[in-house]
Amino acid sequence: MSCIETIADYGLRSLGMGERLLPRSDFTLCQQFTLIGSGMIWNIYFGVLALAAGFFLANALAMAKAAPSPVVRKPAEWFIFLFRGSPLFIQFFLAYEALVLLPRAGIDIFGLTVETGWLTRAWAGALIVLFLNTAAYSAEIFHGALMAIPKGDLEAADAYGLSGWKKFRRIQWPTMLRLAWPAYTNEAIFLFHATTLVFFSGFPAFQQRGDALYYAKYFADKTFNPFVPYPIVAFYFICLTLLVIWLFGLMNRRLNRHVPAARRPRLRVRPQIIR
């Protein structure tokens, strides 16, 4: 079987398309690269959606944490502490255990039956955990940046007669984002790394549709040789990391385009704070 055929059969296996049975004997490098690459679809799915949704919640949380009123501030602080203070591994486990407790038949709300079964599936349940998790981490980063906005910027805003929402929208928020961006890039990288934990604790693989690490484990298990599949995962992740750094670098350029060229910060690939 040529490599092209293998890619056609297994390229979308992680989504349940193509050959139903996984390769069972005579494992080739091509099969390992194809299936593990197919699993990367899930890593990217989890990473991109959790980041996109988490970004909005993180902004809200950062603002809430900076609020003077304890009614708003305290819940935000507790939320951030809960998700930043415990291992993701345990969060996944507990989330799965909690989600399977939901009634199977669905919940009745005003006569409408809300299905709950899908929540225990990794694509939804794990995504929710990752979304809340990254929101907490990003909120901490954004909050730090919000506190670090130069006093002069705020005074200039006052001098221009900006206040309230307008001041926030035009001055505070863009500056916060600009300051937080390097740390946020790092958060994105580590969130992608964290997606490998999805099928590792709690959430089961459905019909052998799993992420890159799931397939790597499958091959390590079948070939009894861990020295091939795991480095393949590592290779894919290095590529993904480079891609993320490049994309976030583009955004960084946009955020800093008004700053004089000489003082324009390059996206530092060595931020101080990681997850």
């Binding site: 502490f81 809960l82 930043r84 203070g85 415990s86 291992p87 993701l88 591994f89 345990i90 486990f93 507990l94 255990e97 990288i189 992608f192 790394h193 964290a194 490998t196 934990l197 590792f200 690490l213 790597a216 484990k217 390590a220 009894f224 040789n225 861990p226 020295f227 795991y230 480095p231 995962v233 590592a234 992740f237 290095i238 990391t241 480079l242 530092r268 060595r270 931020p271 101080q272 704070i273 990681i274 997850r275």
Partner: protein
């Protein structure tokens, strides 16, 4: 543990629970908390040493050294730690045995790799095949420490490189003008001054290190997650203390443990930051000066 626990099947209620929670396997579970704490205590300085070496190497003027330092940090950053843990320990273990094999059995003619099998001469086994179980455990623990230290050393190296660059250039120039050599500037000024700049990053890393310990069971160390899974699972009447699936409670206990560790670390690190900020040319140091004045 208690004499009254001799016949667990006859016990009920609180006394059953007391006996259950003091059974041999639970004592092992409590010890595994100590294992995790010891691992943290040992790994942190080792990782700091690895990171320091990496940061110094990355600053080196010799390009092979600096490339090696930079590759090390970049590589670990790109790869999820879990993937690293899954194959690196076996590789490290085999690497050590291969080296002892070369030293101690130079006359061995059979190949070390036979297909997938890895076979060194008996005297090159680390630890020796007939060593007491405790040595095997210590060795396994040591491998885990080194693996953790390599991964976290790369992050430490990131932080320290940044901190070294953050030390005000003027301080170093002053030292040079006093006639200090490069080595003296490094030892007497750069290293003592960089800690305050490194501390936020290092505190953050410490938190990550704490939160990475649930992956210890991947490295063959029987840690708290291993025991929580093992003890929480359904116990049929084959066991002295049968019970249904209690994993949820065990994992909730772990959650509390981790949140407590995080909170405690936050308090201690906060104090340390205040101590180190004293007299520094940073915003925090300036605030302290003003408050005192």
């Amino acid at each position: 543990m208690f004499a009254s626990c001799a016949d667990p099947k006859s016990l009920e209620g609180l006394s059953w629970l007391l006996c259950y929670l003091t059974s041999g396997s639970h004592i092992a579970f409590y010890w595994s908390f100590v294992t995790v704490l010891v691992l943290l205590a040992v790994t942190a300085p080792v990782a700091l040493a690895f990171g320091f070496a990496g940061a110094v190497a990355a600053r080196s003027h010799l390009w092979p050294v600096s490339v090696a330092g930079k590759t090390y940090t970049a590589m670990v950053r790109g790869i999820p730690d879990i993937v690293f843990f899954l194959f690196f320990v076996i590789a490290l273990d085999q690497g050590i045995e291969w080296v002892t094999h070369q030293i101690r059995c130079p006359d061995w003619t059979e190949p070390v790799r036979q297909g997938l099998e890895f076979r060194v001469c008996p005297s090159a086994k680390v630890p020796p095949g007939n060593a007491a179980q405790i040595w095997h455990q210590i060795y396994g623990f040591g491998l885990a420490v080194v693996t953790f230290a390599i991964v976290f050393g790369a992050f430490v190296s990131n932080v320290l490189t940044g901190a070294m660059n953050a030390v005000p250039r003027a301080q170093l120039e002053t030292a040079e003008s006093y006639g200090m050599t490069q080595g003296q500037v490094f030892r007497r000024i750069l290293v003592p001054q960089m800690w305050i700049y490194a501390l936020p990053g290092l505190s953050n890393l410490w938190m990550i290190l704490i939160k990475a310990t649930p992956l210890l069971f991947l490295l063959g160390v029987q840690d708290i997650v291993y025991w929580a899974r093992e003890l929480g699972g359904t116990k049929t009447s084959l066991y002295a203390y049968p019970h249904p699936d209690w994993r949820l409670y065990y994992f909730l206990a772990l959650l509390v443990f981790y949140l407590g560790m995080t909170r405690l670390s936050e308090i201690v690190l906060g104090r340390l930051t205040r101590r180190l900020s004293f007299g520094q040319a940073t915003a925090a140091g300036e605030a302290q000066r003003k408050a005192a004045a």
